[in-house]
Structures are given as structure tokens and as C-alpha cells.
């Protein structure tokens, strides 16, 4: 549940805040979100990555399809990466890596800060 929650929250974060904030601020926010939700590091990585990757993929595809603009293909050609669809894929992978590592960092930070309670009640 918490996994899906983190994915959805990350998507929401990207969709609503990314338009006004640069990607690195979004990374910090995803880290904080993952820290609050408190999944394990690997799970956080996957959830944050899927959240941001899917959001970016969905957004690029939505813009491409709804505008019908030749720009994605023109950019693909310009960057020597083939078509606009390849660029959407690269955008998604980049989003996945940024979201994943941010979330993982956040959950590891929580790990550090939560050290004492772990000791007290679990031990």
C-alpha cells in the first residue's frame, strides 16, 4: 500500500509542482516524501522512480499527442537520437533515475534519523 501511495504521491507532486519548480527542487521534495512514507530503500527507489518516470513519460506523450507538434521529432533528429518517441523514452528513463535516487536518499535519511526509536522499542 505504502508503495503505491508513494508512486501516486510522486506523480501528483510532479504534475502539480514541477511546472513552477525546477527538477532539482522536485528531487528534494520526492526525497522528503519518501522519508515521510518510510519504505525500505529499494522499494523507495522503485516507487519514486516509477512515480517521476511515469509522470514524465505521460506528460511528454500527452503533449506530443495533444499538440501533434513536429518538435519532438525535430529535437530527436537534432540530438541524433532518432524520433520523438525515443526522446519520450529517454525522458522517462531520466525521470525514473532522478525520482528513484531522490526517493532512496530520502528513505535512507529517515533510516538514519529513526535510529533511536528502533533501538528503544524493537530491541
Amino acid at each position: 500500500m505504502r508503495f503505491i501511495f508513494l508512486v501516486i504521491m510522486t506523480v501528483i507532486l510532479v504534475v502539480f509542482l514541477n511546472p513552477v519548480l525546477p527538477f532539482w527542487v522536485i528531487m528534494i521534495l520526492i526525497g522528503a516524501l519518501a522519508g515521510l512514507i518510510g519504505l525500505k530503500g529499494a522499494e523507495s527507489f522503485l516507487a519514486g522512480g516509477l512515480g517521476m518516470g511515469l509522470a514524465w513519460l505521460g506528460q511528454s506523450l500527452y503533449i506530443s499527442v495533444s499538440t501533434g507538434s513536429p518538435l519532438p521529432n525535430r529535437m530527436g533528429e537534432l540530438m541524433g537520437l532518432g524520433s520523438g518517441m525515443t526522446l519520450a523514452g529517454i525522458t522517462a528513463v531520466l525521470g525514473f533515475l532522478l525520482g528513484g535516487f531522490s526517493a532512496m536518499t530520502g528513505s535512507l535519511l529517515r533510516n538514519l534519523l529513526m535510529r533511536k526509536p528502533d533501538n528503544l522499542y524493537r530491541g
Binding site: 527538477f23 530503500g41 519532438p72 530491541g123
Partner: protein
């Protein structure tokens, strides 16, 4: 992964080791995250920062959205005295309705920046010699040339002129700049033009200075000189042969101002020195880049006596490099006093080629040798003083600081004399230590071209037009005019130096005061005509006048083909309609071919041709109707055959070892006709004696060889496929932003002057009836954004010879509205 394990196995007493692992894991992943974030925010080699570029919310994806989808009903524009209404028609052409001039031009700046910000910014960086700041050391030489020519120096003088003489105009130019800057400050990350995102830089604030600089840049695009080449030719060929091969008034000159015009003024005296000593240096200097071949224009106006409806009709099509975003941006600019519509230059105020409720006007380049070169003799190596008559004059130094991306700033010292900047010196262009040449150019004089256009926008009649033109200095233009009241007129306007015959054709000795320009032709004595007998006025970059004009006029590049076709057609036409004028702008008749091909055919003699392919080519040429339409094959054959022949005839000139120009097509054809066996055709380097026939024959064989190769590699050799008209993005490396292989006819020297990279950059036809009926088109689109549907949507219309309706609109007119925006304080 192991990190989680450790935490879960917390039932064991946590050892210091596990604590350390937690710290280590966190900092390790944090380091990866930060490294990743940094790696995708900085450029790696030529790859721009990836994350800001690919981020779908702020990166290039956002530039896929066209302007109509981003339309706003209201936008804030500060410093307005009243709300301004902007109505966009279905082609995204803005129609601005403002209460006064200051509001109008503030809104013009704002709206233009919305659609063309990157282009405006980039063009003025180019004009200022600052391209190296963005692209690095590859542009350093280009920037040095630009600065050494003194364009920025000219713009500074222009600004000073406005501050001292015309504060009213300056206020408006500053209002425009304020509009641009308000847009820059409001712009969010998503709507930043995509070129900034790719090249990874940010727009700079606009200023009045930049608007003036843009007009200097136009001068630079349109003005060249061949003084260097002529100096060399004079030395190599001698004066007599030079005059024979480069006659200043060849036979059958068909000038701008009609032959037989009576010059009813008392010309100012010009004294030619009794002896003229030209510098005799071997001029092995790299010549400055010249305006592209084929940069020219047509304009004309026919009076009501020749038209079907009895109204004057005016047409204009400036030919320039074909670029995206287009040099032109269409607008209507309206206040309660006037309403002007046509083509603007992003960065400059008002309409440049257009019409209002009362008049219409247009421009073509009035090529006249406006740049002259003076040899400077410095007193010593410090270059602090130079010889002038019997004294030493003090020079000044201007240090050009050229910022270079990724490298140290480059400092270029340019010496200024009273003539102008010393462009060629030991650090630049000249191969010899002691060679120094200063450039004298009207661009370096304070002037007020901006006022000319603002007054033309409001002009009501011929007198207003004449008054507006008085402010215009450079680049000299043939201003065509027509009014609702029935006048048609043409005036060649610029600041033209008084020159004795031959002055400024060659490099001059700057230490001899007798070589100075002796003043300027008064505005009222510039060649002009009003309602001539023949019922039309026209210009196509040819000689301004016949030889009776009392002042010396010279240029190397006068047109000999478009002008005769144009005047021939206009003379014979009657009952002219707007459609006829559109057809004439799109006319593909290849006059050069009609005159050259019969001679080529006669000299090659088809009996000697045996190769079947060669026979086929000859047959295609024989059955040609001389129209360079896109589907025709003969124009390709002729074009190659003629150019090979021309090169063969003058190929020995390549051995001179110095920059020269060769005789033009017109003179070469005259020589082919008048003395095909003359010594001029003999190549001295060979033992045999060549005649015109030899050059034509080898030209033919070279053509056949080239065509075979072309057919093997490309197949189709129809004209459009051969010339491959390309409308190129301003950054040529961004080739996917260019539009290639546009299917259209025409070519250099043809009224439809569309060659590979040059052509009609704007076409306009206006009938001046009770209501103005206007049509316009340009090869591009209103949006500068390569992701917008308005980026290149005019190109197919333009390529097909079609037009958009350009009638004046009223603010409440509802049909054909894309969206409306109100600009409010």
C-alpha cells in the same frame, strides 16, 4: 538493499558497525543522487544540460504548444496610458489597437517578443559581434569582422543622435524596449524559446540601442563594395582593359528612374584633383564577406491609367537570405490617427514595407558604392598618429572585448581615424605588416532611419512621404510609393557622398586630403520621379539613372535582367489587376537564358554532338520555353552549361593570386556576341589559341559530365530538385528546424528570384482604391517557435505563388479571429 536488512534485524544489539553502515549507505546514495542531478544540469561537451531540456514541464516539450492554445484574454503591460487591444487573425497576425503612439510601440515590442524573442536577441548579438559568447571560439573571426567594421560604433552614434536631436523618437524607441523587457520579465520557464534551452543561455534585456543596432545590421546585410578587387584589377589589367570589361554604363541600361528624366536642379560642384595617385600595393588581403549573390529586390507601382479599376497598384518583394524564423513579422498597427499594416522587422518600430489607409510604400536595395577605403600611413609602430597632408593627425583606439564561451576574453584593438575604423591591419586580414586601410562608410554617421519608417506609417500623401525619407541615411533604398489620390513615385534615398568620376572605385590614399568625399548630395537632388509619362515606376537593383544624372554613381552589382523583364512587362500591360501583379512577382521567365542560350547553341553546333545523353540534353534545351518553372528540366541544363562556360572564359584570372571579380554575365554575353574570336578569350597559359567556341564547347562537355553524375546519384534533375531551395534556421547546425527542398521555381536574375538560399523574403501587392485591397506572404510563419503550427505554415502558400488577405481590420470585426488579448496596466 542490505541497508533494509540491517534495520529489520534490529533484535540484535546494534553495533557501531551497523551505525556506520547506515551513514555510509545514506551518504553513498546521496552522493550518487547529487552527482546525477549535477550531471544532468550541466552541459557535457556539445550536449546541452539534459534535465532542464527534457523536463516535460519546463523543457523543450512545452515548446510543442502553439500560441492559440496559450492564448490569454488579458495580460499585464505596465506603463500604458489606456488598454491596448490585440486581435490575432487565423494566421496569428496581430492587429494592435492603441490610443496613442507610445502605447502602440510598447505593445509592438511586447507582442513581437512573445513570438520572436530569440531571433531578436540573436540577430542583435550577431550585429554586436557577440556570437562567440554563445557558441565559443568558432565565431571569433566573424565577431572580429563585425566589430572592426564598426556596426556597434555606428549604433552608438545613432543613439547619441537621437538623444541630441530627436528625443520624441527616442521616447518611442524606449517604449518599444520596455515592452520587450516586460515580456522577458513575465516569461515563465516553459515558454522560454527552445533555442535558449538547447544553447543553454538566457535572453538579455532589450534597449533602444539594440533597435538601432538592428538597422545597422540591415545595412551590413545589403551593402558591399569591390574596391579591393577593382584595385587589383586596375593594377593587373590596366585602366583601359578594366573599362572595357567593366563598363560603368553598358549598352541598353534600363535604370530605376526612367530614361529621359529632366534633372531640374543646379548640381553642387565636385572637383576632381588634377592628379590622382592610387596606392600601388599588392593587395593580397582577405576581402570582407559580401552580400549574398541574389540579394536584391523588386518593387513597382502602376498608376490608375494602366489598371482595370483605375486605382494605383503597388508591389514589393525584397529578396534576402531565406531564413527561419523569418526576417519579417506581419502586423497591423493602429491608433486613432493612423492604421498601417505590412511587414515589420522584429526589433524595429513600425511597419517597414506596407500600407495605411492612404498610401502604400515598399523598398528595394539601392546598391551604390557606399563604402570606401583609405590607405593609412602611421607615424610609427604605436599607430597614435597618421599622415594627413603635411601634418600628423591623432588616431583613437577602441578596445573590443569579445567574450568567448569556455575561453578567456579576447581583446581586439581597433584604431579609428577620422575616416573610420582601420579594418585591415597587421592583426587582421592583411598579410603585410605595413598595410593599413580605414573604412569610410555612411553607417558610421549619426542618423535616424527609425523616424523615416514611423513617419511613413502615418503618411497621407506624397509630401509626407518625401518628408519622411529625408531622415533616411543607410542602407540606401529605392522607396516606391503610391497613394489613394492617384500618385505613384520612386525616390532613391540614402546619404550619398559627392564623388568625382571614379572616386571610391579603388582604394585611395588617406594621407592625401584631396581624396576626401567632398560633401553629400542634397536630399532634394537624390534621383526621384513622380507620375512619369510611362504610367509606372519600378526598381530591381539596377542602375539608378541613365548617364545624364549629374553626379557620379557606381556599383559593381547592378542588375541587368530582372529590371528589363519588369519594365518590358509593365510597359506592354494595360487593364492591370491585382492578380496580374501577383503573377508578375511569381514570374519565372529566365531572361539571361533567352539571351545566352541561342549563342551557346550556335557556338557548340549540334552536328558535333554524338553522345546520346548529350543529344537528349540538347533536345530538351531546344524545346524549352525559357521559363524556370519547378518541373522544367532545361533550366538545370542551361544553368550548369552557362556557369561552366563563364568560369572557363575567366579561369585564368584565378592565377592572378589576388582577390578579383570577373566580368558579369551581361558583359560576358556581349563579348561572346561581338568578338567571339577576340584575344580576350585566349588563355595565355596554353600554346594554342582559344576562342569563345572552345569555352562554350568545354562548358557543354562539363555540363554533360555533371548531369550524368547527378542523374546517377539523384535521378531527377528538374529545376526545383536541382536548386533545392532551403529556408534555413538562423543556426545552420539546427538543420531539423530548417525547411528543405521547397518545390518552387525562379532563380537569380529572374523576377521570382528564388534560388537555393535567397529569394522573395516578403511579397506584397496593394490596390489603392477607396478601401485598400492588400495581399501579402512570406516564406515562414508568424511564430519563431519550431514547435508551433505557425512556424512554417506560410511556406507552402508562398512556394505556390499564393497570398494571404492583408486587408486592414477594425477592432470589432469578428470573422477570422483566432483570439483576442487585452493588454492592461
Amino acid at each position: 538493499m542490505s541497508v533494509g536488512r540491517i534495520r529489520d534485524s534490529g533484535k540484535f544489539a546494534p553495533s557501531l558497525y551497523f551505525q556506520q553502515m547506515k551513514y555510509f549507505s545514506f551518504f553513498f546514495v546521496l552522493a550518487i543522487t547529487i552527482a546525477l542531478a549535477v550531471a544532468v544540469s550541466i552541459p557535457l561537451g556539445s550536449i546541452p544540460p539534459l534535465a532542464p531540456l527534457l523536463d516535460p514541464n519546463r523543457g523543450f516539450w512545452q515548446n510543442s504548444i502553439s500560441e492559440d492554445a496559450l492564448a490569454e484574454d488579458e495580460l499585464v503591460l505596465d506603463n500604458l496610458s489606456a488598454p491596448v487591444s490585440v486581435v490575432y487573425d487565423q494566421n496569428l497576425i496581430p492587429h494592435i489597437f492603441a490610443e496613442n503612439d507610445a502605447d502602440l510601440y510598447r505593445a509592438q515590442g511586447y507582442v513581437t517578443a512573445q513570438h520572436r524573442l530569440w531571433q531578436m536577441d540573436f540577430q542583435t548579438l550577431a550585429a554586436a559581434g557577440r556570437i562567440s559568447e554563445i557558441v565559443g571560439p568558432v565565431a571569433l573571426d566573424l565577431d572580429r569582422i563585425t566589430r572592426r567594421k564598426g556596426l556597434a560604433f555606428g549604433a552608438e552614434l545613432g543613439l547619441k543622435y537621437l538623444q541630441e536631436n530627436d528625443p520624441e523618437t527616442l521616447v518611442l524607441v524606449e517604449a518599444y524596449a520596455d515592452g520587450v523587457n516586460q515580456y522577458i520579465n513575465q516569461m515563465d520557464a516553459a515558454s522560454m524559446p527552445v533555442e535558449y534551452k538547447i544553447l543553454n543561455y538566457k535572453p538579455e534585456a532589450w534597449s533602444a540601442y539594440k533597435s538601432l543596432l538592428l538597422l545597422k545590421y540591415m545595412s551590413d546585410m545589403l551593402v558591399g563594395d569591390r574596391d579591393l578587387e577593382y584595385s587589383n584589377l586596375r593594377k593587373i589589367l590596366g585602366q583601359e582593359m578594366l573599362d572595357k570589361l567593366f563598363p560603368e554604363f553598358p549598352t541598353k541600361v534600363d535604370p530605376v528612374i526612367e530614361v529621359g528624366k529632366v534633372w531640374d536642379f543646379q548640381p553642387l560642384p565636385v572637383v576632381k584633383p588634377d592628379s590622382v595617385n592610387y596606392p600601388t600595393d599588392e593587395l593580397v588581403i582577405d576581402p570582407l564577406p559580401q552580400p549574398a549573390e541574389g540579394a536584391g529586390s523588386n518593387n513597382w507601382a502602376v498608376s490608375g491609367s494602366k489598371t482595370k479599376n483605375g486605382n494605383p497598384i503597388l508591389a514589393n518583394d525584397p529578396h534576402l537570405g531565406l531564413n527561419l524564423p523569418s526576417l519579417w513579422y506581419s502586423m497591423q498597427l493602429t491608433t486613432p490617427e493612423h492604421s498601417a499594416k505590412g511587414a515589420t522587422l522584429p526589433g524595429a518600430l513600425g511597419i517597414i514595407s506596407g500600407f495605411n489607409q492612404n498610401i502604400a510604400w515598399g523598398v528595394t536595395n539601392a546598391t551604390k558604392d557606399a563604402r570606401d577605403w583609405y590607405k593609412i600611413t602611421f607615424q610609427d609602430d604605436s599607430r597614435k598618429a597618421y599622415k594627413y597632408g603635411n601634418e600628423w593627425k591623432t588616431s583613437t583606439f577602441r578596445i573590443e572585448e569579445i567574450k568567448v564561451k569556455g575561453e578567456d576574453t579576447y581583446l581586439d584593438t581597433v584604431v579609428y581615424t577620422h575616416y573610420g575604423p582601420v579594418v585591415y591591419d597587421r592583426t587582421f586580414g592583411a598579410n603585410r605588416q605595413d598595410v593599413n586601410f580605414a573604412l569610410r562608410w555612411t553607417v558610421h554617421m549619426g542618423s535616424n532611419e527609425q523616424k523615416t519608417f514611423m513617419q511613413l506609417n502615418k503618411a497621407k500623401n506624397h509630401a509626407d512621404y518625401n518628408e519622411a525619407l529625408n531622415y533616411y541615411v543607410a542602407p540606401a533604398q529605392n522607396f516606391v510609393f503610391a497613394s489613394k489620390s492617384g500618385d505613384v513615385a520612386m525616390r532613391i534615398q540614402g546619404k550619398f557622398p559627392l564623388k568625382w568620376k571614379g572616386q571610391g572605385k579603388y582604394f585611395m590614399d588617406g594621407s592625401d586630403p584631396r581624396m576626401e568625399w567632398q560633401g553629400f548630395i542634397p536630399n532634394e537632388q537624390n534621383a526621384s520621379t513622380l507620375n512619369p509619362q510611362r504610367g509606372f515606376v519600378s526598381s530591381a537593383n539596377q542602375h539608378p539613372t541613365d548617364s545624364t544624372y549629374p553626379y557620379y554613381v557606381f556599383d559593381n552589382s547592378y542588375e541587368h535582367y530582372r529590371n528589363r523583364r519588369l519594365n518590358g512587362k509593365l510597359t506592354e500591360m494595360t487593364g492591370i489587376t491585382v492578380e496580374d501583379m501577383k503573377d508578375l512577382q511569381f514570374d519565372d521567365y529566365y531572361t539571361l537564358a533567352t539571351e545566352a542560350l541561342p549563342i551557346l547553341m550556335k557556338l557548340v553546333g549540334d552536328s558535333t554532338v554524338t553522345d546520346p545523353k548529350a543529344k537528349q540534353y540538347l533536345e530538351e534545351l531546344k524545346s524549352w520555353d525559357f521559363y524556370a518553372d519547378p518541373n522544367q528540366k532545361a533550366p538545370t541544363l542551361f544553368f550548369i552549361w552557362w556557369n561552366e562556360t563563364h568560369q572557363n572564359i575567366w579561369k585564368s584570372w584565378k592565377d592572378f593570386g589576388a582577390p578579383v571579380v570577373t566580368p558579369n554575365n551581361y558583359r560576358t554575353i556581349e563579348l561572346l556576341l561581338s568578338e567571339p574570336d577576340g584575344a580576350i578569350f585566349d588563355l595565355k597559359s596554353t600554346a594554342s589559341i582559344e576562342t569563345a567556341r572552345d569555352h562554350v564547347k568545354s562548358g557543354f562537355n562539363q555540363m554533360v559530365e555533371k548531369m550524368k553524375i547527378w542523374e546517377d546519384s539523384e535521378g531527377d534533375y528538374s529545376w526545383a530538385n536541382y536548386k533545392k531551395t532551403t529556408i534555413q534556421h538562423l543556426v545552420p547546425q539546427f538543420s531539423s528546424f530548417s525547411v528543405k527542398n521547397v518545390y518552387t521555381g525562379g532563380g537569380s536574375g529572374i523576377l521570382n528570384a528564388t534560388s537555393g538560399r535567397n529569394g522573395a523574403s516578403w511579397r506584397m501587392v496593394v490596390e489603392l482604391g477607396n478601401e485598400m485591397t492588400a495581399f501579402g506572404i512570406y516564406p515562414g510563419g508568424q511564430s519563431g517557435n519550431p514547435g508551433s503550427k505557425f512556424y512554417d505554415n506560410f511556406i507552402p502558400i508562398w512556394a505556390n505563388g499564393d497570398y494571404l488577405n492583408f486587408n486592414l481590420r477594425t477592432p470589432d470585426q469578428e470573422e477570422g479571429v483566432l483570439f483576442k488579448t487585452t493588454l492592461k496596466d
